[in-house]
Subunit: 143 residues, 2 copies
């Protein structure tokens, strides 16, 4: 379980960290902001500080347990690192996030980086659009 994941990183196994991983693991929405995690733990009766959440997330990221994404709109979102790399499409109305992986795109990226003389280390591909939910399609933008 999470217990082992933590131990392997060299980080100490503490209640706040375990609860955070648990929270990230069982969330319906796999992509959570630091505050969302913080609030959920508070509501679950845990005693935790927002500083701890941010600090731990950064450590998890460094350890490869978690990935940080900067979608539009201020807050970063974090997701538990399961399975392989993927990219995202985000609904500009409801915030829904879907994941995808496309080998053709990945391949083209490698080719382009090489052609430009770069050693590719990372990339970020995020699409934004209107998802298929009833209130999301064909909205007029003015909020």
């Amino acid at each position: 379980m999470e217990n082992q994941d933590l131990r392997n990183t060299g980080l100490k196994v503490t209640v706040p960290r375990l609860k955070m991983l648990e929270c990230l693991g069982k969330a319906q929405d796999r992509h959570l902001t630091a505050e969302a995690i913080y609030r959920q733990l508070l509501e679950a009766g845990e005693e935790i500080g927002l500083a701890t959440v941010y600090r731990a997330l950064t450590q998890f990221e460094a350890a490869g347990l978690v990935t940080r994404h900067h979608f539009e709109g201020g807050q970063a979102v974090f997701e538990l690192e399961r399975g392989p790399h993927h990219d995202h499409i985000v609904c500009i109305h409801c915030g829904r996030v879907e994941e995808f992986y496309d080998e053709a795109i990945e391949k083209r990226q490698r080719a382009i980086a090489k052609k430009l003389g770069f050693i590719l280390r990372d990339h970020t591909l995020t699409m934004y659009g209107e998802c298929s939910r009833p209130n999301c399609q064909g909205q007029n933008d003015e909020s």
Copy 2:
């Protein structure tokens, strides 16, 4: 010139706005932070406030004169909107930015969005890597 661009947006033609467009237009590096623009204008002896720079950039963006990018690292960068859409690759060592456009990638994105039931409105693709400059390749990361 910039004069006309501004008039077309409905924005008034003012000294700060003209200077900003001029600055964005003649910069060797096409991708500038708000502060970079602010500093350059100050150094050129212009009297301008940082608030004005941010405000005008947001207006330029809304008018389609300028594009805002959120690369890694806090500050947004802005670039004058010439030519057609393109994506970016950024050197993680020296910050150099190269641009590219790949129809195959664009096409796959449209197909993926459709398959997932999204109406695609926008996207962001940024690669990060080590560029070909002497001090950028094969660096050890610890800063």
